[in-house]
Symmetry: C2
Subunit: 155 residues, 2 copies
DNA sequence: CTAGAACTTAAAGTTAACTTTAAGTCAAGG
DNA sequence: CCTTGACTTAAAGTTAACTTTAAGTTCTAG
């Protein structure tokens, strides 16, 4: 089973122009062409595309991904390099995860803040609350936010 | 204690031009000016800036953040709207977290894959391995990647 | 054999979020 | 008062990752 660019795009849920762009940028050197020049994606190309999608989600640039693809095509000599690349990516993701967790804490705090404000009818309720009255799990993030000594605006 | 734009930028670890840009985009209507027109950040403005930073990290656009700031300045009438906004953001972050976790699984698999390849000296080792030989935690992601029936390229 | 849908390329356009530049103004130290 | 470094604005430039356009080609069904 082979696919045209449009079919593969539909299958992956991306625009056909995106796949053409990736090809132009050297991300799809493995895709073969018909005698007339039409791209023919093979079933097995899906794995490449899946990995490319994953690397994109991990925040890698097109340039970096092309480097990886080129290494992969060079064969077993580049195993170490490829391993190093994914190890580095692992670190990047760990960092991203921590940041995301922190962001979530902040948003959770804000939800509590506005739920409390809603009940009371004013943001003064959560805003002027003593730290001891604030649910324990929000205290750290609240203090982090309250760098200022004075009371902040109605944020 | 007040800060100029340059001092505040240094304090937050961003470029001064970024703060000016945010101001131009309506994100900093609370920042006052000296008689000469110089921005004077107050200590309490840091909380606003911290929240803006958090919302950016959560993937919100400048436009969305401005909306929030405008609502906050309108006072208690917009509590419900602000709560709804953070609740929506909570969902977005949950989604992001799941995606990130999935990406991490893929990268973990790739690390295992290349560690195994490194030991054997060839990617054939992990590539041609039977599913049963693959560590249990990588089986799901491997199958997900192997949508194709035939063996894929040396990815 | 032909119509038309989907493909091809190169080049230009888009978008968001900054960043840089240019020309000028403010403020603090000597 | 003057210098100097940091500030001001408006406008133009940058970057990445697409997306769109235009002009032409290929494939498939009738």
């Amino acid at each position: 089973m082979v696919y045209t660019v449009g079919e593969m795009a539909k299958l992956l849920g991306v625009a056909a122009s995106t796949l053409r762009y990736y090809d132009k940028e050297g991300l799809l050197p493995f895709v073969e062409r018909s005698s007339g020049g039409i791209r023919m994606f093979r079933e097995s190309d899906i794995e490449w595309l899946q990995v490319i999608g994953c690397m994109k989600k991990a925040g890698m640039s097109i340039k970096d991904i092309r480097q990886y693809i080129e290494m992969a095509l060079q064969g077993d000599d580049t195993i170490d390099l490829r391993l190093a690349m994914f190890r580095r990516q692992q670190e990047v993701l760990k960092q991203q995860m921590e940041e995301l967790q922190h962001t979530m804490e902040m948003v959770d705090y804000k939800c509590w803040y506005y739920e409390t404000a809603k009940e009371a009818g004013t943001v003064d309720a959560p805003q002027k609350m003593e730290l001891a009255e604030v649910p324990e799990r929000f205290r750290k993030i609240r203090q982090e936010l309250r760098t200022a000594p004075g009371t902040a605006a109605t944020i």
